[in-house]
């Protein structure tokens, strides 16, 4: 299992790099934002009507925002080693606690979205791949191209207008039950399935005419067995590998989709934290998003190794 260890070690190094880059970059960038940080925090804390110079001064003293920047950065990086991400400048709660809540929601959304896209995309693609060149295949190509061209928020708005406003089947926003997960997850899943179905279609079309399959047919193996043994498994490798590429779309989509559907996840929290200049929250959310991305990629690595035994020894 040398390949496995090496893959995971590379991901671990990547995770460390993410932590360092996010830690320093976010801090520098948010520090350089125009305007007075204490006022932003006070506005978030007390509401627009109650923000005043006095409230901002109280905030400045309370949070030590007048310390030199390197002391604040040093404190944060030191905390990072102890996995102490500090306290949200807006809510006053530990960032770690808030992230737990947000992360739970984001993982739920991402898992449901991935699940839907895996259930829809590859099977549909495989079905089309088996009929490459047919009218259905060409329709699939057009549908996939159109879906990929539509940004996530346009798809989401369309779904809200049809399923929440028009038909009234599902909630337009919120959190709590399963109904609320459906629309945001489908928004993300559509974009993912549009790509994975094409990858699966090409892989199946290729594997159907690849040498092992042709040889098995010539051996006289029934078509069902050929597909089971030679086509599906070989086609699965690029599909799973492509999952890794798609994760970027998933994570980026989360930022937009969570904002649109008022889904209290990491992406939503990130946008809020940036607007409120909540330095520890910006760092925390960006860090978690980066680490989530690395973790999901590691998962894809594992999956690829499982499906394709050749790589286990070759790597």
């Amino acid at each position: 299992m040398g390949g496995l260890t090496r893959a995971l070690a590379a991901r671990a190094v990547q995770a460390l790099l993410v932590a360092l880059v996010v830690g320093i970059a976010c801090f520098a960038m948010v520090r350089l934002l125009p305007g007075d940080m204490a006022f932003r925090i006070a506005a978030g804390r007390y509401g627009i009507d109650l923000v005043s110079g006095a409230a901002a001064d109280a905030v400045r003293v309370e949070l030590g925002l007048d310390r030199p920047w390197w002391q604040q950065l040093g404190a944060w990086l030191g905390g990072l080693i102890r996995f102490d991400l500090g306290v949200s400048l807006v809510s006053g709660d530990p960032v770690v606690d808030e992230l737990k809540t947000y992360l739970g929601h984001t993982i739920l959304l991402a898992v449901v979205a991935l699940g839907i896209s895996v259930l829809v995309g590859p099977p549909l693609g495989a079905w089309l791949g088996a009929r490459a060149g047919s009218a259905a295949d060409r329709a699939g190509l057009v549908a996939s191209a159109v879906l990929r061209a539509l940004p996530a928020f346009v798809v989401g708005i369309g779904l809200i207008l049809v399923f929440a406003v028009g038909l009234g089947w599902l909630p337009a926003a919120g959190v709590g039950g399963w109904q609320e997960v459906v629309l945001p997850a489908v928004t993300l899943a559509l974009g993912l399935a549009a790509v994975s179905s094409r990858v699966a279609r090409d892989a199946v079309a290729a594997a159907l005419h690849a040498e092992p399959a042709e040889f098995a047919r010539r051996k006289g193996l029934p078509e069902g067995a050929v597909r089971r043994r030679h086509v599906w498994r070989n086609a699965a490798v690029p599909v799973v590998a492509y999952l890794g590429v798609q994760l970027v779309a998933l994570i980026e989509g989360v930022v937009i989709v969570e904002t649109l559907f008022a889904w209290p996840g990491i992406g939503h929290a990130l946008v809020h934290a940036v607007v409120a200049r909540d330095v520890p929250m910006v760092q925390g959310t960006a860090l978690v998003m980066g680490l989530l991305f690395v973790a999901l990629n590691a998962l894809v690595d594992l999956l690829t190794l499982l499906i394709d035994p050749r790589r286990r020894s070759a790597a």
């Binding site: 993410v18 061209a149 928020f153 960006a286």
Partner: protein, 256 residues
């Protein structure tokens, strides 16, 4: 390749709209609060928006803005990406390892995250958007260039050129660029699509360009509440955005 031809045709049509349109259409900022959300008519061929501004004028200006932005962003990512890729392959050793690690670290971060942070840094400004996109997208160019350059440098002709003292510039112009060109079209189209999508997405989460700048994403979000009264006005910017991305993807995809 028909797909690529459709893509180029789409892009050409949109570019013509964005380049010639502003010369013919009126002032995209001129308001008329007594004629808001009008349907298509003689005075306003595509109707008016919620401020009574001419939709046609706004759409052409928005198209010009997005295409210009995409072109600059793609180049801003390509130039450092190619340069660093070449340097990594040329120098090797520590320099290469450091650059590869840097690329890995950037790859480990979702690109939009970088752009969001940069955009929040100076809301309404173009420069941070370019910087963020450039920082997120250069890696693709870097990896491609480094890969191609590494195999090129091993070739006898190039090795000879190096021995004769020709610098990286010579290698870039005479050996690397011709080799890269076809793949570069794919990457440029890909990063232009990413740039176009990114600014509309940023306008959507509220960190985009300042009003009253005509821009597809902010036009859509601003007009969305009026979807029942003026569906066409909401649809048009989205349509242009989708067609542009589609055109770029067709051009990029066909080369793969």
């Amino acid at each position: 390749m028909t797909a690529a031809r459709i893509g180029w045709a789409l892009l050409a049509a949109i570019a013509a709209f964005g380049i010639l349109g502003p010369l013919l259409a009126g002032d995209p900022l001129r308001q008329d609060l007594s004629a808001t959300l009008q349907g298509p008519g003689a005075v306003h061929p595509l109707g008016t928006d919620q401020f009574g501004r001419d939709m046609l004028a706004r759409l052409t200006h928005a198209t010009r803005l997005s295409l210009g932005f995409a072109a600059v962003a793609a180049v801003a990512a390509a130039v450092p990406g190619i340069a660093l890729g070449l340097i990594a392959a040329w120098r090797g050793g520590i320099v290469e390892r450091a650059l590869v690690s840097l690329a890995d670290a950037v790859m480990a971060l979702p690109g939009l995250l970088l752009v969001v942070l940069f955009a929040a840094f100076a809301p309404g400004e173009f420069l941070p958007l370019y910087l963020g996109l450039s920082l997120a997208l250069w890696v693709e160019y870097f990896r491609l260039t480094r890969g191609v350059a590494a195999s090129l440098l091993a070739r006898p002709a190039v090795e000879a050129a190096r021995l004769f003292g020709f610098g990286p510039w010579h290698v870039l112009r005479h050996h690397l660029l011709p080799e890269l060109a076809p793949m570069l079209v794919t990457l440029l189209a890909f990063s232009a699509a990413a740039a176009v999508t990114a600014i509309s997405a940023l306008a959507f989460v509220g960190i985009g360009l300042r009003p009253p700048t005509p821009e597809w994403g902010s036009m859509m979000t601003e007009l969305l509440p009026y979807h029942a009264e003026a569906p066409l006005q909401v649809l048009l910017p989205g349509l242009l955005l989708a067609l542009t991305v589609l055109g770029l993807q067709l051009v990029a995809g066909a080369r793969r």
